[in-house]
Symmetry: C2
Subunit: 276 residues, 2 copies
């Protein structure tokens, strides 16, 4: 039976999502807890929607796992047992476990992923209660100019300037939304949505806006960098702790299988194995 997990975590004390030997990872923590609760001798393997880097947070992460469960398994009880086991590590929360709809694949079914990035450019407003998910900068930033910059990056294009290159992998993505707002605490919040993001792409896109918003790079020069679609030193990859995966958007249940097949076919053609 394929089971869908909805997950939230504070990435501060994790070496990222993906299992690594001798490192505390989100995937490893959950897989071990599942093995304990279900009394499995080998930990089951999770497949995730958005593999996040060390320090990156998630409020709306989704994963699936194939388990040998009875048809009448009590998911409320199973969720509670898993949550209770994870209570000693409250930086990861299992929001819910449920049987996945037929054709559901956490990694290949999504239509889109959404991320938020938080940045504060006012020293006198630094709030230690949100320091683990807000990047503090000393440069004052022009949010209108950053919004303008973000708008020039939206669209279906080659994001080669914003992606860590991977052998044989495409850097073409569809950035569907990229906006900046200043919230009531004066924190700058970027909201981004794309069909998929390549590795470190959100942090590079944010870095490009910061460069323009602080006056160190013109919008015209960034346009050239964007169009060249080559790795660049024109802007910085921003720190991980400002970044949160907030949503994974799936199609309606009847479209899950078709969407997964389409994504898989696209990835095979282009050799793109990365998914976030």
């Amino acid at each position: 039976m394929r089971v869908r997990l909805d997950i939230a975590y504070d990435g501060t004390d994790f070496a990222g999502w993906a299992v690594q030997p001798n490192r505390r990872t989100v995937q490893g923590t959950i897989e071990e807890a599942l093995a304990t609760v279900l009394r499995l001798t080998t930990a089951p393997r999770l497949v995730v929607a958005g593999r996040t880097d060390a320090g990156v947070h998630a409020t709306g992460q989704v994963a699936h796992v194939d388990l040998d469960l009875d048809d009448d398994v009590d998911f409320v009880r199973l969720t509670r047992k898993l949550s209770s086991l994870l209570r000693s590590t409250p930086d990861v929360v299992i929001k819910g476990l449920r049987e996945a709809a037929p054709g559901f694949d956490a990694r290949f079914s999504p239509l889109a992923r959404r991320y938020e990035y938080r940045l504060l450019d006012r020293e006198e407003l630094r709030n230690p209660l949100v320091r683990h998910r807000t990047v503090w900068t000393s440069a004052h930033l022009n949010v209108e100019l950053m919004s303008e910059t973000a708008a020039t990056l939206v669209g279906l294009r080659d994001f080669g300037a914003f992606c860590k290159p991977r052998e044989g992998a495409t850097t073409i993505r569809e950035l569907q939304e990229f906006t900046w707002t200043r919230d009531e605490t004066s924190t700058l919040i970027a909201r981004l949505q794309a069909d998929a993001f390549c590795h470190s792409m959100v942090r590079a896109l944010v870095g490009a806006c910061v460069e323009v918003g602080s006056g160190r790079l013109t919008l015209a020069d960034l346009g050239d960098v964007r169009d060249a679609a080559q790795r660049t030193s024109a802007f910085k990859i921003m720190p991980a702790h400002g970044l949160t995966l907030t949503d994974v958007i799936y199609p309606t249940d009847d479209q899950l299988g078709a969407r997964a097949e389409l994504t898989r076919a696209k990835r095979e053609t282009t050799g793109n194995g990365s998914d976030s």
Copy 2:
């Protein structure tokens, strides 16, 4: 010269505000940093508006300190030096240093203190990113009933049922505001304002509302407990980490000295040495 400090901190890793031998405290951390920046051989002593317990946070704490400074001292530069020194301990932030207005006393001049308390009663909505300042409960709570309860506690009265007794100290306070709202993340937020709070009073008031909101205590029974004004086991003192001191309200500059004198006179009459 009397200097006013505006301070924010995440209380998680502090043994409270007040200096204690061999414990990491907010007061101790700031006093040491001040001594380093000003090259003093003995640390100056801070006087604070709201002495917070271990684990309690603050976004709007205020303190004063009397320092031997030149009249033309550059406070922007001094704030920056202090902040830079405290950068290695980002759980405390000095939002600003400035010369205090004549008659200003951080502890005795306030008209009122404001606190917030955060509580989440929905297991599936637990967000690990705010776990250090939100108390998670498993009981579902009736927010309308909690608001009704809070309204019955507002006023000038003897809060003996909600105060840790102190030899010879009055438990009469004026609770000027106490409301409950559910925010967009379904978190229950209590907002309280009083001229001053006695020790653990906010956490006791919140505990009383939780008891009524979960159906374990009737509003009528709580009314009796309130009127008896004696220590009680009818409700719990809630955990510290849900509590944040958000604001200290001072009168206009021309009223600072008069207000401090009035407060001091009241405290001397009643023998009340506690200020929060």
